[in-house]
Symmetry: C2
């Protein structure tokens, strides 16, 4: 079962937690200055180390992917757009997609762990364990004063980016997002919409500071802010779901999800947000895991990759609508 088909802590507000560690190997320049052959050598070295230590990951050179498969990985936050556009890196990926390693993206190694719900400790522990395995075998670029060396100075220090995906329909409806983003910015935290135009009311909260702070302090700081925002969101939901226009929107969104024969990804995202709110507030009886899973699997390239990669937009809309109907019907 994929990580996104499961529910974690605080899942009424927190969709997922992600830890990403940036690491480089002392003996090599940053990837931007490497030739294709040397990159391949690094990719295979890292693959072989983890394989030898019993960490079961698939090895996926970007050059072997179709366009749909590559973009689908980006849609699921497993790779960056930059990574798939360059075509000479490789991805390591485990079965439930909770662990992935981009090799020769901006840094030699970008190790990522995703967990459902709020689980900064768990995600960090898992990333740290794999990082320790790699560190046994590799000579990491590390400076006593600066910490882990990375290509971009914003990652220097821990090399760790911790981020949490939040579903904030009530705070967004109350028009609180701009003020909230300004508030958390003062605490070294970035809050931004996960989708264009704030679609789906899904926001990513992540730490900005990597230098002069321990991993534990950074994740604890982020966690306490997540819990405060979650509490505000829950409070705001209480009044939002008393509004009859909201109630109407929730139920009709569910009705449309169960009955449409054509659906764009943007529409799914919008309806998902309303129905997810309805489920969490007890208005709608449906499996939230299925809806979360569909949010991942109904993205355009992911639909395309799952259906031979040759669908046009109208065909995707038909396949997507059927997938949603079948899942909820």
């Amino acid at each position: 079962m994929m990580w996104y088909s499961q529910t974690g802590a605080e899942s009424d507000v927190v969709l997922s937690t992600r830890i990403r560690l940036a690491r480089n190997i002392r003996e090599y320049p940053f990837p931007v200055r490497l030739d294709r052959e040397t990159k391949k050598q690094i990719c295979e070295t890292v693959r072989d180390i983890l394989d030898g230590e019993g960490v079961k990951l698939s090895y996926i050179p970007v050059s072997t992917l179709t366009a749909a498969q590559a973009v689908s990985l980006a849609e699921r936050n497993l790779v960056s757009a930059d990574f798939i556009s360059k075509s000479d890196g490789a991805l390591l990926l485990n079965g439930d997609e909770s662990m992935s390693v981009m090799l020769c993206e901006e840094d030699h190694i970008r190790l990522q762990v995703i967990k459902p719900g709020l689980d900064l400790e768990g995600a960090y522990a898992e990333a740290d364990e794999t990082d320790n395995i790699l560190e046994k075998h590799l000579n990491y670029a590390f400076d006593e004063r600066l910490g882990y060396l990375t290509q971009c100075p914003t990652n220097l220090g821990t090399g760790m980016r911790a981020s949490v995906m939040l579903h904030l329909p009530a705070l967004a409806a109350a028009g609180n997002m701009t003020r909230l983003a300004a508030t958390v910015a003062k605490l070294g935290i970035t809050l931004r919409s996960a989708n264009a135009d704030g679609a789906g009311d899904i926001y990513q909260l992540s730490n900005q500071v990597t230098l002069g702070i321990s991993e534990t302090a950074a994740t604890e700081n982020l966690k306490s802010i997540v819990l405060q925002i979650a509490s505000q969101e829950r409070q705001a939901r209480k009044s939002l779901v008393k509004d009859e226009k909201t109630i109407d929107r929730i139920y009709r969104s569910f009705g449309i999800l169960k009955s449409a024969y054509l659906m764009t990804s943007a529409e799914y995202t919008k309806l998902y947000s309303a129905v997810r709110l309805g489920i969490c507030e007890g208005l709608i009886d449906a499996d939230i895991n299925k809806l979360n899973e569909l949010y991942m699997t109904t993205q355009p390239a992911t639909v395309n990759a799952a259906n031979g990669g040759e669908l046009n937009a109208a065909q995707r809309d038909a396949v997507r609508a059927k997938t949603v109907r079948d899942a909820l019907g």
Copy 2:
């Protein structure tokens, strides 16, 4: 059971058939020149004749109606807007609302029979039977050359207006309505949208000519045109329901009807049209009679009259949505 809760012939295209006879009593001037007392006298005379002959009708003086009740009668095509605004006429109405008599509207007597589906013969026969009863007791204003005398010269002759309500979503979608209206106009038939902006794709087809033509010839002429239009509509539906956008619209309309918590009358009309098409074309399994009935009963004043007459628009939208959900759920 109300007439509009039943299905008649050609009901995939024909919603209802209506025959209206205009009659006046020779001894009195037209209502526009009568005082209140004389009008009341005429109203009661007609009531007593039909009562004495065993025709069971409720007697409803307009002055006894609340505003919501009066407008509700107009919404169900039982009275004219003009009739309820004047307040000194009276309505005779039978139990299933298929027979109604406006007394002292524009003419002394406006006898109307409505039937579900296409039934010009049946509706005319029933109107004619009641008309004959009245004629036994009243001295109708009748001229050997002109026929029945009416206040408005457009009704002179038979005094009969026959009209048929048609559901024409496919011809409307194909943009054929303007041309069709021009064509039937040459045959002495008026085609017009039943709702503002063509909402619901419901059109009324009625005879214009009352002078120099028998009732039978007029209804047969109308019937043959209805059957031709119905055949064109069925043809057009075959291709319309192959279009995936139409299929999507049909199913999501049904989904919204079953799930919304707020619904305006205009939205019901729009969704009704799509779902009605879906039922007739075998895409949706639902009771068409229920949908037809809701088209009558969810109109604003009718909702209001059924709920004490004191609802504001938002309350009506909530009551309407619940009524629809309960009927289809």
